[in-house]
């Protein structure tokens, strides 16, 4: 067992060396204040990089199309991922199905910069997520609340993103998950050891992890936002609510002018607190992606509920 201490982050996670943790979390620190864009081919990847994306997520179909297409969504074709790796100089991430550690082993052998164990793909395991501590590649996982975030961190995720509802162009779930996560962190403040122990049991994570969060009032890893961000204002909203970086999936390449929108998203995240700049960059962007009212969505079509 070793402990990680990078600035005031410090948490013991069995199975990691401190060096590994610094370089894994440090990788995500480099992405802060940026936009990570879903891309499906080298052409889109180039547009994303030219617009100033800090990383791309390589996948065969953006979430909006996964919804439309139906069927089982799996990790992407290695050829497609490799072609994107050859095209851009920024980090390339890719998704694996929840619990599908072989897909993850394959991505690690391809030296993908980061693996997203993602609810956007069809889960491969209903009971267990991947033991992410056994990988050298940093993992990101989604969460809807603090318990889910801490379970993923305990399994070895070195970055958390709130899930939102991918492929809807509707930010309401992203907001809900971010507010839930942060209010649950605030809720731990002032709890005594007995209460924290009860919380740890409820959330199915070690006491030390809960106590760490209670004391420092934040997650031990970076906290990004995903799922439904479609406009620069959406991106700035998530940043003001506490996200440190924003994932944009279908929102860019399902819009009328992807290059312009991508550039606007990047500026919106850098200047999330400056309404005048947000006005300027939101002008004349063309059609945003058509959104979906989540209240009208059947429960089985929601991706956020996937995972354990």
């Amino acid at each position: 067992m070793s402990s990680l201490q990078t600035k005031d982050r410090s948490v013991s996670i069995p199975g990691f060396t401190a060096e590994e943790l610094v370089s894994k979390i440090g990788f995500f620190e480099q992405l802060k204040g940026g936009v990570i864009m879903d891309v499906i081919d080298p052409e889109q990847a180039r547009i994303a990089e030219d617009a100033g994306a800090c990383a791309v997520m390589a996948l065969e179909r953006v979430p909006a199309d996964i919804r439309k297409h139906g069927g089982v969504a799996r990790a992407s074709d290695p050829d497609m991922i490799a072609s994107i790796q050859r095209t851009v100089s920024i980090p390339v991430m890719a998704k694996v199905r929840i619990g599908h550690f072989v897909e993850a082993q394959m991505l690690e052998s391809m030296e993908v910069d980061c693996i997203d164990e993602s609810e956007v793909l069809t889960p491969a395991d209903d009971e267990f997520q991947i033991d992410k501590r056994s990988f050298k590649t940093p993992f990101v996982c989604g969460c809807r609340d603090l318990g889910e975030a801490l379970r993923r961190i305990h399994e070895g995720a070195s970055m958390i993103r709130t899930k939102g509802e991918a492929g809807t162009g509707n930010v309401v779930e992203a907001v809900r998950h971010m507010r839930t996560l942060l209010s649950q962190i605030r809720g731990l403040r002032g709890m005594d050891a007995l209460q924290l122990e009860k919380k740890a049991v409820e959330m199915r994570v070690p006491f030390d992890l809960v106590a760490w969060v209670a004391e420092r009032q934040k997650l031990p890893v970076p906290n990004f936002s995903a799922g439904g961000v479609a406009t620069p204002a959406d991106a700035a909203l998530m940043m003001q609510l506490g996200a440190e970086t924003v994932f944009v999936g279908s929102g860019i390449f399902k819009s009328g002018d992807p290059s312009q929108r991508a550039k606007a998203m990047v500026r919106a995240v850098a200047h999330f607190n400056e309404p005048k700049i947000l006005v300027e960059i939101s002008r004349g962007l063309g059609e945003a992606m058509v959104g979906i009212d989540i209240n009208l969505m059947p429960a089985h079509e929601r991706m956020a509920g996937r995972g354990v």
Binding site: Q30, E49, G52
Partner: protein
């Protein structure tokens, strides 16, 4: 101005905050007793005691510097003699020549850097440094780090990883391929920059 030597009332150090690990840099400087200011607009560049270009993605920073009209004003501050500390992407912005791919830079350090020259994230990690100016045992965390392949005249190599220069300095500008800001506690590389900021604050106005 003796009180400035204690650092509490030196001018704040500007940390370019368009994208990257600027919060880590702020925390590292604050641990050493300096005040910091996030730099996002031209107005933020006013009255600084030093300047940090953080790690992150150099392509993202370049786009934002250009579109937000910061490129020239930031360049003027970088050339003003103010102490400057740059890590990873920040170093790429300062290098005379950038490869993989070729991209625009301020060309203030006579070095050639190859972006991601040590490979993808899989090859990131913490490595021992050889240095005549840092304490024995100092290590550096390299994350998709740039690799310095040429060091020109007038640029000092302060530390190396194997045979590769990884910490260089020319006049008031110091740049690292690695991330001292990510390491816990006081750090000798950060301390070196902090000392330069304090020394600069002691100079008479215009005496840089």
């Amino acid at each position: 101005m003796a009180s400035e030597a204690e650092g509490g009332d030196t001018l704040p150090v500007g940390v370019l905050a368009l994208q990257g690990d600027f919060v880590d840099h702020e925390a590292a400087l604050q641990r050493h007793g300096l005040r910091t200011r996030q730099v996002r607009t031209v107005a933020d560049l006013d009255a600084l005691g030093g300047l940090v270009l953080p790690g992150g993605e150099s392509t993202t920073m370049l786009k934002l510097l250009e579109v937000d009209g910061l490129w020239e004003p930031l360049g003027a501050v970088l050339r003003s003699g103010l102490p400057v500390f740059a890590t990873c992407a920040g170093m790429i912005l300062l290098a005379e020549q950038v490869e993989n791919p070729v991209q625009r830079s301020y060309a203030l350090l006579p070095i050639t850097v190859v972006r991601n020259g040590y490979g993808r994230q899989f090859h990131s990690g913490t490595f021992a440094l050889n240095s005549a100016v840092l304490p024995a045992g100092t290590s550096g965390t390299f994350i998709r780090a740039p690799r310095i392949t040429r060091v020109g005249m007038g640029c000092d190599v302060l530390a190396a990883r194997g045979d590769d220069p990884v910490l260089v300095q020319k006049g008031p500008i110091m740049a690292a391929c690695f991330h001292p800001e990510l390491q816990p506690g006081p750090n000798p590389v950060v301390a070196r920059f902090v000392a330069a900021v304090r020394k600069h604050a002691m100079l008479p106005v215009g005496g840089a």
